[in-house]
Symmetry: C2
Subunit: 221 residues, 2 copies
């Protein structure tokens, strides 16, 4: 049930695992955390599947991408599997994040989003507004965007959270990448032109979610 | 290339189409809109697939759920297909939305999210803050939550956007449902207990997105 021996397998497989599987992992983590909190110790793949609206065989197949979990006929140990999934997701790697743009959305994330629950430490925010610079929002210091290069040189940052206006989205991204960030969490709804193939961009498209909802509530055309 | 004859088929199939297909439709819409804006008139399923990181056969399979689009060897007419997808997504059904909770996130959505581009008309916001009630945010009137029942009785609302604190998420949802909303766009990160099986809940889980990003930037454990 440990990953020590599977480490290389994960390494080898990492490039190949489909993004659909990866996108289900946070849901596994969420459901397993809820189950653990409710005191559930052990769960079968079919019961876990029912809670997540997946088939038991899909769950077994998903998890088999990462090694051997659970025992035939015994199901999964909930907290162990939760911790393994957390580990696979990189939640124990001390990732850091900074928020670029402390407008409404940036503030909402700084004040209300629990970065720590995803294994991230939010270290700073950057803005151009003199009213904000030098202050703190919910304990997070706000610096001038002019200080970004200097900050990144001194503080390794894993992820830049992009909540800036669209017209500066690309230039800010380039500054983040030049400063060594590995990932950009992009809320700007603009397609970023990223020159470095090693940098990962994760786009939040609110409209995709609203349009799916629109489909489900719509009358047949 | 019209849906008139396919209408009943859509109706019959609507319940059965997998949510994975539905979740790809907004991406089709987004890419087709971009292509149309770039002046592309016609596109093959393989070229569309390449732009969307899907296989040509997956695209043909997805679209076949909704009827016949495109002609063998001719590809798809971009604007026609975009409009058909928009129609399937219910974008022409004059959906309305209200925002519950005009805190940072609510304000960010009211001020910056283009509801109209998803076919929605944002008609009002509701809050408990006396400072906000009676004012407008970016042209959207803010009313007291106490007036919600009355408002819903007079103004049919398709979707309630839930950006309230977690501890009132369920009670506000119940009020929305009692007032006839068909869908709830849930940003509260709490699992809603919905009594009416006809109401659709669409959850926005920011953490799922950040955790997927965390996976992709992480070192092999």
């Amino acid at each position: 049930m440990t990953l020590t021996k599977e480490g290389t397998i994960i390494g080898m497989k990492k490039e190949k695992i489909s993004s659909a599987v990866i996108r289900r992992l946070p849901r596994y983590y969420r459901h397993l955390s809820d189950l653990a909190q409710s005191g559930v110790v052990r769960i079968s793949s079919s019961a876990l599947g029912e809670a997540m609206n997946l088939t038991a065989s899909q769950i077994r197949q998903d998890l088999s991408c990462f090694g051997e979990f659970g025992q035939q006929g015994y199901g999964y140990n909930v907290t162990n599997l939760r911790d393994e999934v957390a580990n696979i997701l990189g939640m124990s790697q001390m990732h850091t994040a900074i928020v670029m743009g402390a407008g409404n959305l940036g503030r909402a994330l700084i004040e209300n989003f629990r970065f720590d629950l995803s294994g991230f430490h939010l270290t700073a925010a950057f803005d151009t507004d003199p009213e904000l610079i030098g202050r703190e929002i919910a304990g997070t210091p706000v610096y001038s965007v002019d200080k970004l290069e200097e900050y990144l040189a001194q503080n390794p940052v894993s992820v830049g959270v992009l909540t800036v206006p669209q017209n500066v989205a690309n230039s800010i991204s380039e500054q983040l990448i030049a400063g060594g960030v590995k990932g950009i969490w992009n809320f700007t709804n603009s397609e970023l032109q990223i020159s470095d193939p090693h940098v990962v961009v994760e786009n939040i498209h609110f409209a995709d979610s609203l349009l799916a909802l629109s489909y489900w509530i719509s009358e047949v055309p």
